[in-house]
Symmetry: C2
Subunit: 352 residues, 2 copies
């Protein structure tokens, strides 16, 4: 039984036997933590190459308690959608980019996260050193339960919590930026087709919109503030309704580009043109925004940068917890600024 042909992967023991040294020695050449004679080292390397040996990450991780891997918790209801969602996929791009630079792998958790009980198994099972929580839907309690399961957490686009680092784009600034732009063009009746109210971006963007109006001395009109949906499905009908108001808006601030596209279509369907009759500003600066006609004025969010920043912070946190033996660091809170991208869908208020 002992002399069966070696079909199994070789272990450190096989290498040690082949070289006539102990497993400890092999481990030391692997990790370079001890002084070894050059010829021993070379002999071991040679055996590794000959036998096509690669260390087992589980055995190593079991002992060292580090895997050089980050976990990503997909905050959306359907995690597979997360990957193509233009918003989250660019964040993910930043994450992978920075993780790669620092030689970390990235694991997408596929568990169901709804309900505190269900959450947790895989985020603390040792396969990752820390986790990134991306845009959890509002109303879930994961942000309360997670930090005590896994201290190495950085959240993106999430409500603030003690002991959890947060990275987010400044939604207030974004809402204000878009609205100010329209005000500067002379518009005063500015409608706002908001995004979903169950996302954390809802409140601050609305506040930014209202703040801009306030500074300009414009009284907000509740009929001009309509809760739309980020998938754009509601925007057509809602725009139609807005245009049929006694005093119709001369500008529409759309909660994202998908809404903006539908808004533009609806405006045209109503026999009006963009931006001559109605200006439209979007949000997100998706690739399609620069390719449609008219090219969309929109708010660009530094999404890749968010991913990079969050990843940098998480890896820092992991390093800190390794050296400090798990002392809780106080939370950091980073807000990145969105940028206004002026294209062709906005123009000065037409004199009548």
């Amino acid at each position: 039984m002992k002399t069966q042909t070696r079909l199994q992967k070789p272990t450190i023991k096989d290498i040690a036997n082949a070289c006539g040294v102990s497993t400890a020695t092999v481990s030391y050449v692997l990790n370079g933590k001890s002084v070894l004679r050059a010829d021993t080292r070379e002999r071991v390397y040679q055996a590794m190459r000959d036998m096509n040996y690669h260390p087992n990450a589980l055995a190593r991780g079991l002992h060292t308690k580090t895997m050089r891997a980050l976990g990503i918790m997909l905050g959306t209801v359907d995690p597979s959608e997360f990957v193509v969602n233009p918003y989250t996929s660019r964040i993910l791009q930043g994450v992978v980019q920075e993780a790669r630079r620092q030689k970390f792998h990235v694991t997408l958790f596929t568990d169901d996260w709804l309900g505190a009980d269900a959450s947790g198994p895989s985020i603390r099972d040792g396969r990752t050193d820390g986790i990134l929580v991306v845009a959890p839907i509002l109303g879930t309690d994961i942000m309360d339960t997670l930090p005590e399961m896994q201290p190495n957490i950085v959240a993106i686009s999430a409500p603030a919590r003690p002991f959890v680092d947060i990275v987010d784009v400044d939604d207030f600034a974004g809402g204000r930026l878009a609205t100010e732009h329209l005000i500067n063009l002379g518009h005063r009746r500015i409608a706002y087709l908001t995004g979903n109210s169950d996302l954390s971006s809802y409140q601050p963007r609305l506040a930014g919109y209202l703040a801009a109006l306030d500074v300009a001395g414009i009284e907000p009109d509740n009929r001009l503030i309509v809760e739309s949906h980020f998938d754009g499905s509601l925007a057509g009908a809602q725009t139609k309704a807005l245009l049929e108001l006694p005093e119709r808006p001369t500008a529409i601030f759309a909660g994202n580009d998908a809404i903006a596209f539908q808004t533009v279509s609806a405006i045209r369907d109503a026999g009006l043109s963009v931006p001559e009759d109605v200006s439209v500003v979007g949000y997100d600066d998706m690739p399609a925004a620069s390719v449609v006609t008219p090219k969309l004025t929109t708010i660009n969010q530094p999404l890749v940068e968010i991913g990079v920043t969050a990843t940098t912070m998480l890896i820092e946190r992991i390093a800190a917890s390794e050296s400090s033996g798990g002392l809780r660091r106080k939370a950091e809170n980073v807000l990145l600024a969105p940028k206004l991208v002026v294209r062709d869908s906005t123009g000065p208020l037409a004199r009548r």
Copy 2:
């Protein structure tokens, strides 16, 4: 030193001690593989809840040699781009979707894959049960070296290899489909702005284009076959050149939608219109294709389905290798059919 306060995560031993049973018993309640008295089981569950215990996946995986995790090898040069690449990101969506259904996690490997030596460490270090190789660039040798490092492999959009399952879209059919459509509209001078020749889709699509011409009795014209780049950067100038030919093409088959967008722009810049003067068909059916003017006729690839299929096959393969003790299965080869999506950028040949 032994009586320090328990700040560490509890282990199976802690649970066993707390309940006055052996660790084996705790393990059995965890895995339900042995008959236990109901009250013992309940006592153990209670302790787990009280102490907030979760099993360590590394320790478990070390013994069982399975992690319920899939690895993804990003075949592109820059893996972070992979995530937003409209092609690969939809495949990834299918992968995550199916992995989630079967309760597998998905790990994005961030290693450098260029060069046979560099490749390999993490794909066989035990952290995943199998790997998916997505669209490796042609000319790399990973497809030769990988299978012997990790038998559980399924490749997407990769050149065929013994013992490696391949899932791909039928590029020949796609090239023929697009060309036939133009031929059916009466076109005979049909240019082809190909994609990058270093990708495996190049040859079969070109063959499909030529086959369609051949069936229609059209002599291929080398001046009409131009190697472009998938990022669209070359297409503008190349289209301009095509339009300046003595007998200019009446239709252009673009290697992908990005190329098609630039082609349409260039046609307009030349004072011509789409589809009246020149028909354009794209490839990929990106989201933007249905949003531009004119809406783009294009070839839709079942990308999500590719991801799902590949993942299903990989998980089957993993299950098979677990039960058969690593016997090599013969390779399967699945080709999925692309679909023609007719929109507004193609029209019948104008009578002159």
